[in-house]
């Protein structure tokens, strides 16, 4: 890769408001030559890419989180500030800052540019979305703006082929100047602006606009007309719920075929390894431990991708901010911020991206409250367990004249139980631990835009990479540990019971049995819950092992359902369902909470409160069901 003579390639950073098309510009510059990593010590994602300039220079680009000001308000914005100011000890400040401004919304965007200019660092101003601005009749004199600001100004259209060519040439020019000039790594003289400074910036922007914008153009009337419906108190909320309904339909319907494919591939790989390797610990580790374990997580990739497809499209169109607007008051009833909507929505696929998405909430108490309830949303890993137990215990009786079946109704009730309990927990948290006012809502509603397929595709590609990397590292390691616990020590000579009973996992299960007996759990369930700690859905596979079934996939589900129906009572099954609504059985979630909250305190609190809820709910369910049935 290293074709360079100098040690490090020049680095540029993209800075701009949220919604200015910065990420589209980043994608246009770098294409697929980009990767996402984390900044050391913080959990903010660091998007880096590179491109080769017209003069053949290899340039590294950093896409910084969008911000309205250098006075950082959230962890994401702190990263932007620290990178721009060169405060990160791990990396030098960028050689060149490319300020990206939405040309259709110059007044708001130029404010940040004026603030950045004060830093005295090399800057290029990219007037993005120039095509949209021109279409609105907006006339900006780029040369006059450049003269007034004292920085190069280039119009760009990130979504058009060749739309970034002027910017590339300008970067080349700036780089040549930078290498000529002596290195001036003077630490930036930046101090937090007072309200008086901010008013002065504002005056400066007004002056720039007066001098350089001949015609501000028409405001986005189409957006206003659409919003008249989509932000309507009645139609708007109805539309939002329709969108959510379609999204959940899609998560299950679209993902089904690829999930079956992955399931088939995993089974095929397992069979192949089983047939190729001699019987022994290695074969067992590979098939039962690694392939089955990692496979059981990778199978959720299609659902996660469908969910993120919706989230990315809704975000790119500008609708997600509207959803937060519509729900702010309703969620405020339990003390949550409107922005909590997005993390909670993501948590229906998996709590891990949900907890990570809570970063967009600036206030720490609001953010923690959202993180703490995210795992109560029914994630897709609970589905295999729900499906199994419903198939085993709930008769397929049509209700309301065949409109809904009893199994569907039970499934809906389980989802509703998760949502309602999450709202209740949020309410209690905001009344006790996180007392006080909510963070103010001060959110731009960007003009509606058509999403650009390339940006959506690159976003999905990133999500898939991050998810698979996790399955290949954390979950891979956990699966090996779990396999070890479930396999050693092996069954003694002449053992009649399944081998797992004699293993460490079996011993733990038996030890837990007296504790779980009051809520109706058998020792088999207790054993299944031990490896289920790694990932909820693994419990299904373990139950299959205990009931000595050798099928896999759908066949396992149907025959296991029969075995369970024969050996468990209905109160036990209901109690286990109640347990699964609440139980914190996911090491991945707890570890991401630890990472996001920077310590063990909150994951421990989460574990304790959820397991208490789970035990209480199971206890009540079991007792009530035993008394009634």
């Amino acid at each position: 890769m290293s074709v360079l003579d100098s040690a490090l390639p020049p680095r540029i950073a993209l800075v701009g408001n949220p919604n200015c098309g910065k990420t589209a510009l980043f994608n246009a510059l770098t294409g697929s030559r980009q990767k996402v990593a984390n900044y050391p010590g913080v959990t903010v994602e660091r998007k880096i890419g590179h491109f080769v300039s017209p003069l053949g220079r290899r340039v590294q680009v950093i896409d910084l989180p969008g911000t309205y000001s250098l006075r950082a308000r959230s962890p994401d914005e702190e990263v932007t500030r620290d990178v721009v100011l060169g405060r990160f000890s791990h990396e030098d400040s960028p050689d060149l800052l490319v300020c990206v401004a939405d040309a259709t919304n110059l007044r708001l965007n130029l404010r940040l540019v004026v603030e950045m200019k004060r830093l005295g660092r090399p800057i290029i101003l990219a007037l993005n979305m120039m095509d949209a601005a021109e279409k609105r009749g907006c006339r900006i004199d780029a040369a006059a703006l450049s003269a007034a600001l004292g920085v190069p100004v280039v119009p760009t259209v990130a979504i058009r082929r060749g739309g970034v060519q002027p910017l590339l040439e300008q970067i080349d020019g700036a780089m040549a100047m930078a290498t000529d000039a002596a290195e001036t790594p003077a630490s930036c003289g930046w101090s937090e602006p007072s309200s008086r400074d901010l008013r002065a910036y504002h005056q400066e922007v007004e002056g720039l606009l007066a001098g350089c914008v001949a015609d501000a153009g028409l405001p986005p009337l189409a957006t206003r007309r659409v919003d008249a419906v989509l932000l309507h108190p009645v139609f708007g909320l109805a539309f939002l719920f329709l969108v959510l309904f379609l999204m959940f339909q899609a998560v299950f319907a679209w993902a089904e075929a690829p999930m079956n494919l992955i399931d088939g591939a995993v089974s095929g790989l397992k069979d192949w390894v089983a047939a190729t390797l001699p019987d022994g610990a290695l074969r067992s580790l590979l098939t039962d431990g690694i392939i089955a374990g990692v496979g059981s997580v990778v199978i959720f990739l299609p659902q996660i991708l469908v969910l993120f497809f919706f989230i990315l499209v809704l975000e790119a169109t500008g609708y997600l901010a509207r959803a937060a607007f519509l729900l702010d008051r309703l969620m405020g009833g339990v003390g949550l911020h409107g922005r909590a909507f997005i993390p909670l929505l993501s948590s229906f696929a998996c709590a891990v991206p949900g907890v990570m998405a809570a970063r967009t909430i600036e206030n720490r108490a609001d953010r923690l409250a959202t993180i703490m309830i995210a795992p109560l949303m029914t994630c897709s890993a609970r589905l295999p367990v729900y499906t199994l137990l419903i198939a085993a215990f709930v008769p397929d009786r049509p209700l309301l004249g065949g409109l809904v079946g009893l199994p569907g109704l039970v499934m809906f009730a389980l989802y509703a139980a998760g949502i309602l309990s999450a709202l209740a927990v949020a309410f209690v948290l905001k009344k006790t631990v996180f007392k006080g006012e909510r963070e103010p809502l001060l959110m731009e509603l960007p003009a509606y835009r058509l999403p650009n397929p390339r940006d959506i595709a690159l976003g999905l590609f990133e999500r898939a990479k991050v998810f698979l990397a996790r399955a290949g590292t954390t979950i891979f390691a956990l699966m090996i540990v779990m396999w070890f616990l479930a396999s050693f020590p092996g069954a003694p000579e002449g053992a009649t019971e399944p081998a797992i009973q004699y293993s460490i996992a079996g011993m733990i299960g038996h030890a837990l049995e007296p504790l779980l007996a009051p809520i109706g759990f058998t020792w088999q369930i207790a054993v299944a819950l031990v490896p289920g700690i790694a990932a909820r859905e693994v419990a299904v596979g373990v139950l299959g092992t205990i009931y000595a079934l050798s099928d896999s996939g759908d066949a396992l589900q149907s025959s296991l359902a029969g075995a369970l129906a024969a050996s468990w009572s209905l109160p036990t099954a209901l109690s286990l369902l109640a347990w699964y609504v609440f139980a914190p059985q996911c090491v991945a979630t707890l570890s991401v909470v630890k990472r996001e909250t920077n310590g063990w305190f909150w994951p421990v609190v989460m574990f304790v409160y959820m397991i208490t809820l789970a035990y209480g709910a199971s206890f009540i369910t079991y007792r009530v069901a035993s008394a009634l049935l």
Partner: protein, 99 residues
């Protein structure tokens, strides 16, 4: 709606604030004064955020949309862009009828 008891914000007698404007009303911002608004933020922070989002003396505002229930939060046009905020915090923005 049930609104605010008395429009007694800051020291401009008879002045109105953004939080009490109805849908469709237009106004001009005459000042930002966060006193009397309860927030989680440190002193001076709400004022600075308002200015950063374009709510500064001289800006033209118009209430475009109201959410449900309680007609809160509101979406307002600020010069060329659109901003969502709650009525409680909008009290910090003092307004006068559009000229």
């Amino acid at each position: 709606m049930n609104g605010h008891p008395t429009p007694e914000t800051g020291q401009s007698p008879g002045g109105r604030h953004l939080g009490e404007l109805k849908k469709g009303e237009r106004a001009r911002v005459t000042g930002v004064d966060e006193r009397g608004v309860v927030t989680t933020l440190p002193e001076g922070e709400l004022e600075r955020r308002m200015i950063e989002m374009g709510l500064v003396e001289g800006s033209h505002v118009e209430v475009l949309h109201e959410a449900f229930p309680g007609r809160d939060p509101i979406a307002i046009r600020v010069n060329e862009h659109t901003l969502a905020l709650r009525r409680a915090e909008a009290r910090a923005v003092l307004v006068a009828p559009a000229a």
